[in-house]
Each structure stands twice: as C-alpha cells, then as structure tokens.
C-alpha cells in the first residue's frame, strides 16, 4: 500500500470516529478531544508506538496507521468506569519506568525488534510487573486489536463487512464454499 493511501485511511479512521484533531499543533497535547482522561502528547505517542508494535505497518496499514491507539483512548475515556480509568492512567504513567527497569531504556528509545521482544515478555507475563502496568497493557492490547479489526481498512480490505448482504442466507453449506477458511 502506498503511503498516500495509508494516510487516507488514517484520515478516514479519524473523522469516522468523530475524533477532533486539535487546531494548534502543541506537541504536549493529546490530538483528540477526551472528556475525562488527562493524556499528554507524549503519552499518546507511547500508546501509538505500542500499537505499532502489536500490529505493525507492513505493506498494509497496521494499528497505529488506522488510529487504533486513539480508539483505545476514546474507549477508556468513555466506556470504562472511574476505577478502571484511574488504573489505566496509573499503568500508562508507570509503563516507561517499567520498561527502563527491564531493558534499561524507555520504550521510545528501543529499536523495533527490542520493542517487540519486550511486549512479548509482558504478554506472556514473564516479567514481574506492577498490576497497574499489566492492566494498562492488557486493556490497550484488547482495544488496539478491536480498533484495528473494526477499522474501515480492515472491514473493507481484510474481512469485508457487508452492510446489505442480500437474501442469500444458507443454513447449511460446505465449509469449502466459504471464503477465508
């Protein structure tokens, strides 16, 4: 996929999710409007880097390009309860510190491979991390995957969603006749 196309996907994902890009390009500020979460621009970048590690861009867009990290912030902001929001934010803020303890560097200073190796360890629960950090990571992973698999890109090009399937329901057909399997 061409970069221009990827940008288009990103733009669509953003407007579709009714996320409001902030007018002024202040690097310290989060790029979308959130009602409760107090997220900084750096924290947003960290989450974007995590998204890009969990589902990277290849020749096709990954989670960051389709805006799955922003979807994650929206969901935590709007759909979590007070307690889970607080926990998530504590985990987000402690993440880089945890990262340094394990690998000696902050997440953003790690190479792409090192990032993946680190997240794999956290994923398999191989490193003793504070509960908040684990909660933050697991919630982020879940929403990043959800955001990615429900993005316009995914639902038009990977597993196309049919708004109007038409009356061709079949109650019993051979598996070999269905796509993707």
């Amino acid at each position: 996929m061409k970069r221009r196309q990827m940008l288009k996907h990103f733009a669509l994902a953003t407007t579709a999710a009714m996320l409001l890009p902030s007018c002024i390009k202040d690097p310290k500020k989060v790029s979308i409007a959130l009602s409760n979460l107090n997220v900084t621009g750096e924290e947003e970048e960290l989450l974007a880097a995590i998204a890009d590690t969990i589902i990277p861009d290849t020749d096709k867009p990954g989670a960051k390009t389709v805006g799955a990290h922003l979807f994650t912030l929206v969901m935590i902001d709007d759909c979590g309860n007070k307690e889970s929001k607080e926990k998530y934010m504590r985990g987000l803020r402690a993440f880089d510190e945890a990262c340094e303890e394990i690998s000696g560097k902050s997440f953003s200073d790690l190479s792409v491979e090192e990032r993946l190796t680190l997240l794999k360890k956290i994923d398999k629960n191989e490193v003793g991390l504070k509960e908040d950090v684990v909660t933050f990571y697991m919630a982020s992973k879940q929403y990043i995957i959800q955001g990615y698999t429900s993005s316009q890109y995914f639902l038009t090009e990977v597993k196309p969603y049919q708004l109007v399937p038409g009356p061709g329901w079949k109650g019993c057909i051979a598996v070999s006749e269905t796509p993707n399997v």
Partner: protein, 567 residues
C-alpha cells in the same frame, strides 16, 4: 395549565381517536382510515418518518464512535434501559432513558419503552407466532385468571388479515399448538437445527423445532409493494429502521398506509393525560392532551376512542381518567383495573457445543432463528407447575481466530478465519400466571413533568415461575444430552420482570363485568365507546411473542366498530 382555545371544538372533533402509534395503534389507524373514518392518532413522542428519521441506518461499524457500546456515563444514568440487549449505540435514540420518564418500582421491574411515532415497533425482534386454543382455553382448564371471552376461531381470520399485510415468513408446520398462517417463504434452519429437530422427534415425539415465524418480507407480494416495501436484505440491523421496509413497523407500513387514505391526522408530541367522560350521555367524549413541548392542554373529541399506549401506559391513562361516575378510573367498577398484570419469564438460558457437521457452516445473516413451541402441560397437566414455556433455539459457527502472537504474526492471524465448532443456545419464554397481587397503580403524590401521576409498579415472580425455570433447565439439559451436545452451560439471569418486554394485562378481557374490564370486542364493559387493543387487554399471556395477537385483536375490534355503526 393554560387553555388552548384557538381551534373551535368542531375542528378538534374526529370520527375516532387512537392513543399511541406503536404496533397496535398503527393497526387501529390503518383499519379505521381505510374504512373512511377521520382518525386522530395522538402520540406522546416525536415524529419518526420512515427512512427520513433513521440516522444510523446506513452507518458502517467503524462509524460508531464506540463501535456499538454504550458509554459508561449513559449506562450509569440509565441502569434500567441499559439492561435491554438492544439498547446499543446504533438504536439508543429510540429508547426512553430512565431519567426522562421515571416510575416507581415497589418491586424491581425493568420497564422498557419507546416513546416516538412507531413506538417499539421500530425496535422489536419481529417474532410472530399465533396463539391456539391450548392458550385461549388455558385459564378455564387450569383454573386461573378468568376464562377468555374468545377462542381461536374468533381471531383466526384476523391473524390471516394481519399476516398478509405485514408480511410474515414461516413454514406450515401443521402443529395444533402453533397454528399455521399466511406465510411467505421461511428462512432456512441450519444443519444443526435440522439435526436437533430430528433428534427431538426421535426422542420425544411431541417436541418440535421449527423456523420462528417473523415479520420479514421474504417474497414481496403486491400488497407489500403497494406499501413501498421491498424484500428483506438480511442486514439484521433492523433496530435502526430499515430502508427497504423489509420488516414490519408502524413507520414503514400501517401509518403511511393510513396517511394515504387522506383520513389520518397524526399529532406527535401529544401526551394523553386522560379520557374525558360525559356524565350526561354516559360515555366517553374525548381526551385531554398535554403538549409535550409547550405543556399547553387541549381537548379532542370523538365518538370512539382506542387506547394503544402499550400495556402499562394504557393502564395509567385509564386509572387517571377519573369522573364522578368513575372515581377510580374509567370503567373500573370492580376495582380490578391495573391488577392481574403478567409477563413472560425469560430467565433461563442454555448454551452448548456440537462437534458434528464440521464440514458444514452457514452463509450470510438471517433475521430470525429456530423456535420450540410449548410442549409442557399441553394436552393435560403433567408437572407440579401450571402451563409451560416455548424456547428460542439458535446455532452457528463463529470465527474463533484467536489473538495469538504479537507483531506481524498477530496481524497475519487476524486476517485469517478459523471456524470454531457449532455453538447452540436456547432461551425460555415462560407463561406467567396473572395474579391480583401483581399490579400497577397511580402514585398518590408524585407527578411527572406533564402533570401525570407517576406509575407505581408491583410485579414479581412466584413459585410457579421458579419451578418452571428449573424444569426448563432440566428438560433442555436432557434434550441437549440426547442430541450429543457437549459443554452444556445453563444460567438463570434472575432478571427482573419487564425485561422480557412482554408485559400484559391490567384491563383484562372476560365474559363477566364483575371480574373483567373488557368484553369480547375489547370494549370497556362499563363505557362502551372505549376500546383497549394493546397488551393491557390480555387475560393470560401464553408463551408466544404477543404483538401479532395485539394486531389481530386491534383489527377485529375496528371491524366491530364499523359493523355495529358506532360512528
């Protein structure tokens, strides 16, 4: 309250008034206007025009900010409606929010409402099964409530009348407990559903699995095309409103049909406060309406009035219609108005897996599922509880592609599809026994914004319901085991009454004015020009999804009005 005196009384007089524009009110409006009667439909909610006011109907999944989920703030502010499975981001604008229209729960009751033109007809799950005489004869045979004043033969042709116009798909199954109707082609069962159907026949003989009859146009007939409705395209997002008019709603069907006659006046934002009684003439003369927005009051008059505000609101309006003749509510000479309310018991579910048919699957989506009609206590009493339950039955295979790996590996995996084994699930729809102790009443002190007393609801399960939940779980576990289903999981949600959204009664039909409110034509015994043809009229509940019966009773009552030249 200011008096709205601009129109003359003459201009505010119609041949008939219908209160409520939902499933049942829409039918009354269609039938009255077709017969040439100038009809005023009063609807407390806003207008919702077919196709114009379905803001989410063509939205793609990614266009929903929360991908369907309801934000926490809304959930916390609206615990009751949030418990309804259909209260999601795509259709939440068609539901009443708890704090907009509060009521008093003497016992927990989840009152799910839709206040708009079309009422809950936009939101319903479109399941439409006929009653049989096993249902109409229930109270008399088993000694509860009072005998229904009608039998299946009195309503059969009205079921047909409604089915042909609404468009009902289904099979002719030849079961006396679930009479066949005027069906469009059925929506096929899955391999596992067909298999289970055979197993049930083999193991029990009298337990049947059929395609649930549903209000979807599978093969449009001229009468549907005349309504501007087309074949259902299996989108299965009906609750948003359907641009094809593929399923039946008042908005897509009865109301535009009534409007085309030129005899319909639809007045949204009109809260009916009470029915006005003419003491001299000894009958109802009209209604008092509070404008939902301006709060101004205005009266409308007609020789015939139909109340179709949905069961509990119909009770509220009648209880609030007080006069010298009827100090306890219109038609309430025996003190039974608001009592003997009942509902459907939807508490138990049973899920399982089936490891057969692994080379087969389904394709596309379908707007209905399988249905198992009542088999318990059908021909005779055979258990330690009265009556029985029907059940929904559904099976399918799902993409169980896990979230294995991270990075490129995860990305590749997400793009694949891995079909799991067949999953089956079933939920009970139990008949509950109407009791005097299950009632609604007006609160003595609290009023709402429109000056209506708040409704007090006191409805509960009883021992019969508990036994029925237990029996459903036992019987279905056995039925599942005999079919070789594995990994069986049962649950009892203990959900409050109301969440079934099949609340009925309070203004029951019967033969005797001493023990019922309505006669065999849905006419108040004590005030003959007022008709109740929504769920409030139901003497008992049976197990079938009830709306088809409300529609048939509504059309039948209008025919009676016209035939007996009441207007």
């Amino acid at each position: 309250m200011a008096n709205f005196n601009i129109d003359s009384a003459q201009q505010r007089t119609y041949d008939a008034i219908v209160i409520g524009s939902g499933i049942s009110g829409g039918w009354v409006a269609k039938e009255l206007t077709e017969r040439g009667l100038k009809t005023l439909v009063l609807e407390r909610g806003r207008d919702v025009k077919h196709n114009v006011d379905y803001p989410t109907t063509n939205m793609m999944p990614w266009e929903f900010k929360h991908r369907g989920e309801i934000p926490q703030e809304i959930k916390e502010a609206n615990p009751v409606v949030s418990r309804c499975y259909a209260f999601r981001e795509d259709a939440m604008h068609f539901f009443v929010k708890d704090n907009e229209h509060p009521y008093i729960q003497e016992k927990p009751f989840d009152w799910i409402r839709g206040y708009q033109v079309g009422g809950k007809s936009l939101l319903w799950a479109r399941q439409t099964q006929r009653w049989s005489d096993f249902d109409f004869e229930g109270p008399a045979r088993d000694g509860f409530a009072v005998d229904w004043p009608i039998r299946y033969k009195d309503i059969a042709s009205w079921y047909s009348h409604v089915e042909k116009f609404a468009g009902i798909s289904g099979d002719k199954d030849g079961l006396p407990e679930l009479p066949d109707g005027e069906f469009l082609p059925a929506i096929e069962l899955t391999c596992v559903e067909k298999y289970f159907k055979e197993k049930l026949k083999e193991n029990y003989g009298n337990r049947h699995l059929i395609v649930a009859r549903c209000a979807h146009i599978t093969d449009p007939q001229p009468i549907h095309i005349q309504q501007g409705r087309a074949q259902c395209q299996h989108r299965t997002i009906c609750q948003r409103g359907c641009p094809f008019g593929g399923y039946f709603s008042s908005n897509s069907s009865t109301l535009p049909w009534a409007a085309k006659t030129g005899n319909l006046t639809l007045r949204p934002d009109s809260v009916v406060h009470s029915i006005l009684y003419d003491e001299a003439k000894g009958k109802a003369k009209g209604v008092l309406v509070i404008d939902a927005k301006t709060k101004e009051s205005v009266e409308y008059y007609a020789p015939v009035i139909f109340v179709n505000a949905a069961a509990l609101n119909t009770n509220l309006i009648l209880l609030n219609s007080k006069s010298n003749r009827f100090p306890n509510g219109l038609g309430n000479d025996n003190g039974l108005l608001g009592k003997y309310v009942a509902f459907h018991n939807y508490r138990a579910r049973i899920n399982a897996s089936y490891e057969g048919f692994l080379d087969s699957t389904t394709k596309g989506k379908r707007p209905t599922s399988g249905y198992i009609p009542r088999f318990r206590n059908l021909h005779k009493q055979e258990t330690d509880f009265l009556r029985g339950y029907a059940a929904g039955f559904h099976s399918g295979r799902y993409d169980e592609q896990g979230w294995d790996g991270l990075g490129v590996e995860l990305k590749d995996n997400l793009a694949k599809t891995k079909l799991g084994v067949w999953h089956v699930n079933s939920h009970m729809m139990g008949e509950t026994i109407p009791k005097e102790t299950n009632y609604v009443a007006l609160d003595e002190t609290q009023k709402d914004e429109w000056g209506m007393p708040k409704l007090k609801i006191s409805i509960d399960y009883d021992d019969n319901d508990e036994k029925m939940v237990k029996d459903f779980i036992e019987q279905f576990t056995e039925m599942y085991e005999k079919a070789g289903f594995v990994d069986i999981k049962v649950s009892d949600s203990k959900q409050a009454p109301g969440l079934d959204i099949h609340e009925m009664g309070g203004v029951r039909m019967g033969k005797d004015p001493k023990t019922s409110l309505l006669n065999e034509w849905n006419q108040l015994h004590a005030c003959k020009n007022v008709f109740i043809t929504d769920g409030a009229c139901m003497t008992s509940t049976a197990t079938q999804n009830p709306s088809l019966t409300y529609m048939a009773l509504a059309a039948r009552a209008v025919d009676y009005v016209v035939r007996s030249k009441m207007v």
